[in-house]
């Protein structure tokens, strides 16, 4: 489903060169449930953004469903990505002026889905993540943890084939975190959705079937979950 082949991401605008990713090769198959851990600044978000076609690599190739994505023209990337993938960003990225419900509906409206069906689906997703009572609150008027749960509901609205989540429970307490991880696990098991999530919590990383550790932009280890 997702393949990075010798991918590097190099930033050099500050007089020094930062190798956010350094010749990374990795294969993620359909129905994989993968976690990515590593210290702050090690390249976790960069890897997720590159896999999700949100950032172009400096060198190397990203394949999605076997297709070389460097061939896709700029403005077609968003449509290609939107049809296949759901994202949970590290900073939630809600639209502050829109309500929680509108934020969740937006990816489906961009894919021109029916508004009534989408609204019902969005309400049931907000209920599933435990904040249906805040559906009418604007993004700016939600607490940190509430925004994060809206972002998770939004990533699920289009029944994506792949979900890429960057510390999806970073703002939540252990009970709410476990609830969200159960939702993701169920989506993976019951619907066969491929999931890659970043976490800095070693215990949470064990939710996944496969744990990838990254350091200084390089894959340090890629192992199965401890049984």
């Amino acid at each position: 489903v997702l393949q990075l082949k010798n991918v590097s991401k190099i930033y050099s605008e500050y007089g020094q060169t930062v190798n956010a990713l350094d010749k990374v090769s990795i294969d993620i198959d359909k129905r994989d449930f993968v976690s990515i851990i590593g210290p702050s600044g090690s390249g976790k978000s960069t890897m997720l953004h590159t896999m999700g076609l949100l950032d172009r690599p400096s060198s190397g190739t990203v394949f999605v469903d076997g297709q070389d994505t460097s061939q896709i023209r700029g403005k077609d990337v968003a449509q290609f990505r939107g049809a296949k993938m759901g994202f949970v960003f590290q900073g939630y990225n809600l639209i502050p002026r829109l309500t929680a419900l509108q934020n969740v509906m937006l990816p489906a409206m961009l894919q021109r889905k029916d508004a009534d069906i989408t609204e019902k689906k969005a309400l049931s997703l907000l209920k599933e993540v435990g904040i249906e009572q805040r559906a009418d609150h604007k993004g700016v008027h939600l607490s940190g943890g509430e925004q994060q749960r809206v972002a998770i509901a939004r990533a699920l609205i289009n029944d994506p084939a792949v979900i890429l989540a960057d510390e999806p429970t970073g703002a939540l307490d252990s009970k709410a975190s476990a609830h969200i991880m159960d939702i993701l696990k169920n989506v993976n098991r019951a619907k066969g959705v491929t999931i890659a999530f970043v976490t800095h919590d070693n215990q949470q990383a064990e939710y996944a079937d496969r744990i990838i550790t990254i350091k200084d932009g390089k894959i340090f280890s890629d192992r199965c979950r401890k049984e």
Copy 2:
């Protein structure tokens, strides 16, 4: 140093009334090291913002150093607050176009401190939190954890009497988190700075001398650390 007397914060713009804080009374004395825990949406950030004069209460009174702060005129509040308090916001709130170094220096420049002395101090604080090598990066070009560490350095630049921190290590792995908590503990012990921090990590809450649990806008418990 900080006192809330019968403070409520009520939001009612969505047709329903949200009691973010409900008749909360709490005393925080000089040199206290206090943690605040509670589920998502329970009022932790609202409490911190009210204590820090970032939000006005709907009813009740906030005292700082014994002074009734409702008497302070609107535009004098920022100066009063800036001279006494340092903040670490839940969303970091860095200025994206400024560099890490400039973000750290800003609170001191607003208090009209000497630029050369401030720059040296800011560099040494960035080194203390472990990211001096990113001093020249703009806020938008830092990872989540790097932004959080810049926000912590920024809260320390004015040698404040009080630090209010909203999940100061939420984006950091356990090693980096422990390092930041050690810095805060040292600032409390060695410099006598009063510190209140929000966390959803029960283990981290025990760093504090006093642990306050909040639920649905009410103080649920206020106990000493488990020895």
